[in-house]
């Protein structure tokens, strides 16, 4: 009779359990998004300079809208590109 220790999982049970996403603005109390802060806005756009969806960033609707406005302002001021490739 095999003891409890001998029982091995065939696959790692932790794989596939994704960590719960959260809105970083709510969690860390960030109230204002600066359109001049290029490095910060980089977190919300993909390699082509497109906005990442909420289902990936986890932002709440309120702050996703603010992020979108900030990115669009940054694009107007040539801080971020409108279209590009290999941004990151």
């Amino acid at each position: 009779m095999a003891s409890r220790d001998d029982i091995k999982f065939l696959s790692n049970p932790n794989i596939g359990k994704s960590r719960k996403k959260y809105c970083r603005f709510r969690k860390f109390g960030i109230k204002h998004i600066d359109y001049k802060d290029e490095d910060f806005l980089m977190q919300f756009i993909n390699e082509q300079g497109k906005l990442l969806p909420r289902r990936i960033t986890g932002n709440s609707l309120k702050y996703q809208k603010k992020v979108a406005v900030a990115v669009k302002r940054a694009r107007h001021l040539a801080i971020l590109p409108y279209v590009t490739d290999l941004l990151k």
Binding site: K31, H32, D34, Y35, K36, D39, R73, R75, H76, L77, A78, I79, L80, P81, Y82, T84
Partner: protein, 217 residues
């Protein structure tokens, strides 16, 4: 009381004084309209993410001001549109969080400030580089380069030979006969701390000139 922030890009082709006076024009204009200038930030020459008016870089300025009414804003924007020196501008009304953010940023409470300070300290360390280690650069040339704000190996390495040559020609003294073509390569090795490789390279060189060129003297 309303808070506004206007960011604008000045044409980099203008001289340093002209750029400053351009920025000053607008803070004067706002002050005349009865606005209180809270802060003027010179963000410096930056690379643009895409070309504007066939320019690939621009000088960024950011002005934060307070106004009783919104009346000065259209006047200022009209002036921006008419001004050929301004490549782009953006006026934003700040809410209370925006004002607080800017205050905190100026007070250094919002990140990114510290790494910059550390980077500066590193730069100062680099300043002590002994440029005479590069074959072809003597104490006199090192002095001339220092006057042109080239004091570190990295500084030399990022320049092109022709640029160094131009600096030397502008400097007093007869440096024009020196061959600068290998200096950036040597400086790159020195900056990376590859002293052995630098030594072998210098052994191949003759007074900082590539070995192939014949000695005239």
């Amino acid at each position: 009381m309303r808070n506004y922030e206007v960011t604008f890009i000045v044409d980099p082709v203008l001289s340093g004084d002209e750029i400053k006076s351009t920025a000053q024009t607008y803070s004067d204009l706002l002050a005349n309209e009865g606005c209180k200038i809270v802060h003027t930030e010179h963000m410096g020459l930056r690379q643009l993410a895409y070309p504007i008016n066939k320019r690939s870089s621009g000088v960024y300025y950011c002005l934060q001001f307070q106004a009783e009414t919104g009346a000065p804003v259209p006047k200022m924007e009209l002036a921006f549109r008419r001004d050929e020196r301004i490549m782009r501008f953006l006026t934003v009304a700040l809410d209370k969080y925006g004002v607080k953010y800017n205050d905190d940023k100026r007070a250094g409470k919002i990140g990114k400030k510290k790494p910059k300070v550390e980077a500066k300290v590193e730069d100062e360390k680099v300043v002590k580089d002994d440029l005479t280690k590069i074959e072809g650069i003597g104490p006199k040339i090192a002095e001339a380069l220092a006057k042109a704000a080239i004091t570190s190996f990295v500084g030399v390495a990022t320049k092109r030979p022709a640029e160094i040559k131009a600096v030397l020609e502008a400097a007093e003294g007869n440096f024009s006969s020196h061959d600068t073509s290998t200096w950036p390569r040597q400086a790159r090795l020195a900056a990376d701390g590859k002293w052995d490789e630098l030594k072998t390279l210098q052994d191949e060189l003759d007074g900082g000139r590539p070995n192939a060129s014949t000695e005239e003297e």
